[in-house]
Amino acid sequence: MQHLTEIRIAGFGGQGVILSAIVIGKAGCIFEGGYSTMTQSFGPEARGGACSAQVILSDQPVLYPYVTRPDILVVMSQEAYTIFAPQVRENGILVIEQDLVRVDKLPAGVRVYSCPATRLAEDLGKKMVLNIVMVGFFGAVSGVLKPDSLRDAVAASVPEAYRDLNRKAFDKGYEYGIKTLNGEIPAEEPQIEVAALET
């Protein structure tokens, strides 16, 4: 029986959505020896509007390449949230950039994990690495890939000059995710919301 994990990452153009998906896909098939297929939504909107990428991780070759009901949705813009949140599978995982996304209605049983990725990236002096902070956070809270695989995939996916910065960004997001799981995040940044069941 094939075990599939369907992931969608969405935001607006320029946030590094595609690179996040490449890192996750690469971690799955190059650094963990599984199978992964990444697709992305192309179009004029890819330069500023909504942008999304999908990754399917599997223990067997992936046939159908598209994600229809993601197990995990990572969103970095409100528009992307509005479009894609209704598609999350029941009991799936929603990962948000908490300063860019406000959560409202959600499918039943979806666990929400929030990360101030932009602020964490800014702490590193480069707002542009918010996508890799999100990948680190995603890695911690989802647990679908080994952190080392993701960290190696980050290093293998960015230019050498930016490798250290991106490793730090990954670690920052990952640590924040572990703290979130351990309930160590202060109350003013409330995490792990369980959405109300919808009827």
Partner: protein
């Protein structure tokens, strides 16, 4: 012979089909590409433009696809292995030079990353609507070879094969990708150079003065002269004799055009590539290619779960069409199911080859996305009854 290691990016990579295709071309020895930007194919030449200056070769961006599709042929006669890449609207513009490559027996590779048409259609979304155009789009009678990868790995592998076939048979060979395969990213394993077989150009060893440039060998393919070595070769798109000189008579037309077709037809068993699975004992055979073959596989799995005996036949060479294999299967199964991202192209070939011995059920899709596996499953269930 083996690939030149300089062009081979040995290792495991996470690449999309377009990038993998470029690596396949480099591994096969391509050192020249002339291109014109068009979605969703441009990434192939963008990567080539980035890579080839570190390998020793040339990329030139031309003023249009008419130019792109003939500049590469100049480069081939100059001694390079060369290719171009396009999508529907550009492919339409290239038709004339596909004819030139056929007539002048210029080994070269065209990659078509198919998108929705007609006209500008769906620039960023998939279709498989150029399958008949690639076979018949240029005027006159001819045979070509067209390959249909269904994954980035195959974009690499089959691009190497395309170059090898083009050199072996001196015919333009087409890599018929689609937007999904071109843009999906998966693991691509590029073997060491010594494990990649490449077909060298079939240069003649006969000295200038004695050599007839278009005299066929036993496989109906002539060897090539080198430009700049005193062969005084004459290459023309006109109907020509074995010297390459224009000979516009019905007799020569008959001789030349038949040979150009027969060099493919006679070698069809060596060229045909396909993937068959559980055909024996099947009631239904699903015939598909490219991205549709992966969607179809899910439908096949679902049908098998329901106890239906379904076989799979995947076209890797769409052209020449594997009619012998389809005819054999037609004698065994009740029906074929043929899903494709067009409103009825390769299904006509299946019908022709099946010759009424089995029902042929088309599952059309106008493009823009891929089939829902359920739609293919539905067709399988209906014909299996």
């Amino acid at each position: 012979m083996h690939a030149d290691p300089a062009g081979v990016l040995t290792g495991s990579h996470f690449l999309d089909g377009d990038h993998a295709c470029c690596e396949g071309a480099l591994a096969a020895g391509a050192r020249f590409s002339s291109g014109y930007p068009i979605t969703p194919s441009t990434e192939v030449v963008e990567r080539f433009a980035s890579r080839v200056p570190t390998v020793g070769g040339t990329f030139i961006q031309m003023e249009d696809e008419l130019a792109a599709s003939i500049t590469l042929q100049g480069a081939v006669w100059g001694g390079a292995k060369a290719f171009t890449v396009t999508s529907g609207p550009g492919f339409s513009l290239m038709m004339e030079h596909i004819g030139l490559a056929i007539m002048t027996e210029t080994p070269c590779v065209f990659v078509d990353v198919q998108r929705g048409g007609p006209s500008t259609g769906l620039p960023t979304l998939p279709a498989q609507g150029d399958m008949m155009q690639v076979r018949w789009g240029s005027h006159g009678d001819y045979e070509i070879i067209a390959l249909c990868p269904n994954s980035p790995q195959e974009c690499f592998d089959l691009t190497v094969t395309a170059f090898n076939y083009s050199e072996q048979y001196r015919v333009p060979v087409f890599v018929m990708m689609d937007e999904v395969v071109g843009h999906m990213t998966e693991k691509v394993v590029i073997p060491p150079a010594e494990q990649i077989e490449v077909t060298p150009r079939r240069y003649t060893t006969i000295p200038p003065g004695e050599f007839l440039a278009f005299e066929p060998k036993d496989d109906l393919v002539p060897d090539m002269p080198r430009t700049g070595e005193g062969y005084n070769v004459h290459v023309t798109g006109l109907t020509h004799d074995n010297r390459g000189y224009p000979d516009m008579t019905p007799a020569q037309q008959d001789k030349l055009v038949k040979r150009l077709c027969n060099k493919i037809r006679q070698n069809v068993d060596k060229i045909t590539l396909y993937e068959a699975d559980q055909i024996e004992g099947a009631d239904v055979a699903v015939v598909s290619y490219g991205i549709t073959s992966r969607v179809a596989q899910r439908a096949i799995d679902l049908a098998r779960d329901k106890g239906i005996k379904v076989g799979k036949f995947r076209l890797i060479t769409a052209w020449p069409f594997p009619e012998k294999q389809i005819a054999e299967i037609a004698a065994k199964v009740k029906a074929f199911v043929v899903p494709e991202l067009n409103l009825g192209q390769m299904v006509r070939e299946v019908e022709r080859a099946a010759a009424g011995k089995a029902v042929v059920r088309h599952v059309p899709h106008a493009g823009g996305s891929v089939h829902k596996p359920e739609d293919i499953l539905q067709a399988i269930m209906e014909v299996a009854r």
